[in-house]
């Protein structure tokens, strides 16, 4: 029997589900209204979306899409658990992706050594970049949600510059790095799935274990509940913030690595940012309120929504960015709804 009721998932989910369900319903209704207003058939559109997400043949695609989404959900959820906001997940991800695209090209050696080294370096680079935002808050007092977000722009510009000029693969007309040799790519499991799905699952399990079973995880939760009390209890808040941000950034770096070594096999300018993994992950983390099991489920849900959106666009010609609208509406409803609950205790 665990002594901390805070992390007990059954208790949590029992009280959490209704507002989330209401929020999803609200998002779906407003999305339907938008569809009607723009001259589309909401029923046909949603049917195409649900069929696309749940059609058995699409499940591997959904799972494959869920890998970066769940990864980025954890990137947002870990700091959120401690009361910190990391809005710069995308920036950290592309830093890692850039490192991951370069190490196999310029560091020869057997794949058994180079691939893990690539991951390690990419995660370290992203983790350090994320720590920069923590440094801003701790030593300069810049709110982290601002600094982490703003740091995303230099990361995007810098990687874009590198891939357009010095590191460009001149044999193609596009701004991308040279192709990573086949031996360095992540092993394929089945269909679109590569070993990345196992890596993210492992990270999720570790994160949940640390959160629930270790002192460090308890301290993170305690900080989230009351930072001042946590400090009073002897936790070095600054040190902890650095660690959390490093872990968060490192996961973002791993996501970047998995995409580069598993799907693109190179760094393609803006390709990673265009998918909206970071914002989606952040919204999934908000949907779960930072609770990690819920975050993974929310990530899966949003990934299914987006795969459904792809099918929807193919079937009905409704732009798939509608799924982004739905996600944002769900979060908006949740934020308003949790507010309502507070007025009537």
């Amino acid at each position: 029997m665990k002594n901390d009721a805070v992390a007990t998932p059954s208790v949590m989910r029992r009280w959490r589900l209704p507002p989330v369900a209401v929020a999803i319903l609200g998002g779906v209704l407003v999305g339907g209204a938008i569809l009607v207003l723009t001259g589309a058939d909401p029923f046909a559109t949603y049917r195409a979306m649900i069929a696309g997400a749940l059609w058995p043949a699409n499940l591997p695609d959904t799972l494959n899409w869920a890998v970066p989404v769940i990864g980025m959900t954890l990137v947002a959820a870990l700091p959120l658990r401690a009361g910190l906001l990391n809005l710069g997940g995308d920036g950290q991800m592309i830093i890692g992706a850039m490192v991951a695209a370069l190490v196999p090209l310029y560091c020869p050696g057997p794949a058994v050594v180079v691939v893990p080294l690539t991951m390690l370096l990419a995660m370290t680079a992203s983790g350090l970049y994320a720590m920069l935002a923590a440094w801003g808050e701790i030593s300069r007092g810049i709110p982290m949600l601002i600094s982490s977000l703003l740091l995303g722009y230099p990361a995007a510009g810098l990687t874009s510059y590198l891939v357009t000029f010095p590191l460009r693969d001149t044999s193609t007309g596009l701004a991308q790095t040279r192709m990573i040799p086949p031996g360095m790519r992540l092993p394929v499991l089945a269909g679109p799935l590569n070993i990345g799905v196992l890596l993210i699952a492992l990270v999720a399990v570790i994160a949940i274990y640390v959160d629930r079973q270790t002192v460090a995880g308890y301290e993170v939760r305690m900080r989230g509940l009351n930072a001042r009390f946590a400090a009073y209890g002897g936790i070095d808040l600054d040190r902890q913030a650095y660690r959390i941000m490093f872990a968060s950034g490192a996961i973002a770096g791993l996501v970047g690595t998995i995409i580069v070594l598993g799907s693109y096999f190179r760094f393609i300018n803006y390709a990673l940012l265009a998918q909206g993994y970071g914002p989606t992950g952040f919204m999934a983390a908000l949907l779960s309120g930072g609770e990690l099991v819920g975050a993974v489920i929310a990530g899966l849900f949003f990934a299914a929504l987006q795969i459904g959106g792809v099918a929807m666009q193919r079937e009905t010609e409704v732009p798939r960015v509608l799924t982004m609208v739905l996600q944002a509406m769900i979060i908006l409803f949740l934020a308003l709804r949790t507010g309502l609950r507070k007025t009537a205790p």
Binding site: G141, S147, P154, S160, L286, A328, L332, A335, T338, K342
Partner: protein
């Protein structure tokens, strides 16, 4: 480097500054009533899009500005009521609003205009440049500030208006009271909610102007996510200016120049990927220099407090959940 600092640099700085300045003024007003408005970015983007929509369908720039102001006001309703009457948390509301703006404009762009990515059309009327002769005849200054849009000149006037309203008018005293001591304000019979709702909604019209200036001010075009961080830079201007309209305006001048210099460097042959990040780097450096160690203790601004307690509030939801 000769001729680097020429009138064109200043004019392009002014052009770059206007959307940020208007957004910053809105941010100042919201911060003064105790609402941490992180949705400036999304509001601006909605303004950009509906300015183009309004201009296209009405055939006049004024129609575009009106549509933008109306659209941003409607778009801001969730923040205005959510963060007040419904007692929601402004931070997740704002985050959702930013993503909603991005998604909604990207969704409506192909639905309304049948294109994706970027839309430009001769029927989108741009904001006219005002070129009064008397202004041009003022030596030096005349050449520098001549030939901007009406929105730009209006934005300078609005700095004074906002400052006057906040610090010289009874309503400004009440607004600041609502932000600094809501309980005390309530005791004096001032409806905190009503003042906050009105301020958030009125300030959102400034973002309509800001967006209209961005999409109709120089070239009449809308492209996806064209606000590209300007709302966040405006928020930083609010923070750097310690929620004072004039100081926030000064911070905007700095960012305007950073933008103009980056454009200029690009013209000199530097790759745009590098020059594009100049405003953000300047923003971050300005923050790092100006924000000395741990300013958020006593006597700090509402915005700092809001930012530092923002995440706590999200977490509080978790707490109340489990203790029910």
């Amino acid at each position: 480097m000769s001729g680097f600092f020429n009138p064109f640099l200043i004019q392009s700085a002014i052009q770059a500054m206007t959307p940020i300045l208007l957004a910053a003024l809105a941010g100042v007003l919201c911060a003064r009533v105790g609402i941490f408005n992180m949705a400036l970015e999304g509001q601006m983007l909605i303004g950009c899009f509906f300015a183009v929509v309004g201009s296209y369908f009405s055939g006049s720039a004024l129609g575009g500005v009106g549509a933008a102001m109306l659209a941003t006001t409607l778009f801001t309703l969730p923040l205005a009521f959510g963060a007040t009457k419904l007692r929601g948390d402004a931070v997740p509301i704002c985050i959702a609003m930013n993503l909603l703006a991005s998604g909604l404009t990207s969704y409506l762009l192909p639905v309304i205009f049948g294109v994706s990515g970027t839309f430009s059309d001769p029927r989108v009327v741009a904001l006219g440049k005002i070129r009064p002769l008397w202004l041009h005849q003022i030596p030096v200054l005349g050449t520098l500030v001549w030939g901007q849009t009406a929105v730009t000149y209006l934005s300078w006037g609005l700095v004074a208006v906002v400052a006057f309203l906040l610090f010289r008018m009874p309503v400004g005293l009440r607004l600041r009271g609502v932000g600094e001591q809501p309980d005390a304000a309530e005791t004096l019979g001032i409806s905190v909610h009503r003042y906050r709702i009105a301020t958030v909604l009125l300030s959102s019209t400034l973002l309509g102007l800001s967006g209209a200036q961005l999409s109709l001010g120089t070239v009449s075009v809308f492209s996806e996510n064209m606000s590209s961080g300007r709302g966040w830079i405006a928020l930083v201007a609010v923070m750097l200016g310690r929620t004072h309209p004039a100081y926030a305006g000064l911070a905007c001048v700095l960012f305007g120049f950073a933008d103009a210099v980056s454009l200029r460097l690009q013209a000199k042959g530097l790759p745009n990927q590098l020059t594009d990040i100049a405003p953000y780097v300047v923003t971050l450096v300005a923050l790092a220099i100006s924000y000395q160690k741990r300013p958020r203790r006593k006597g700090d601004t509402a915005i700092d407090l809001a930012a530092s307690t923002a995440a706590d509030d999200i977490l509080l939801e978790t707490t109340t959940d489990t203790r029910l």
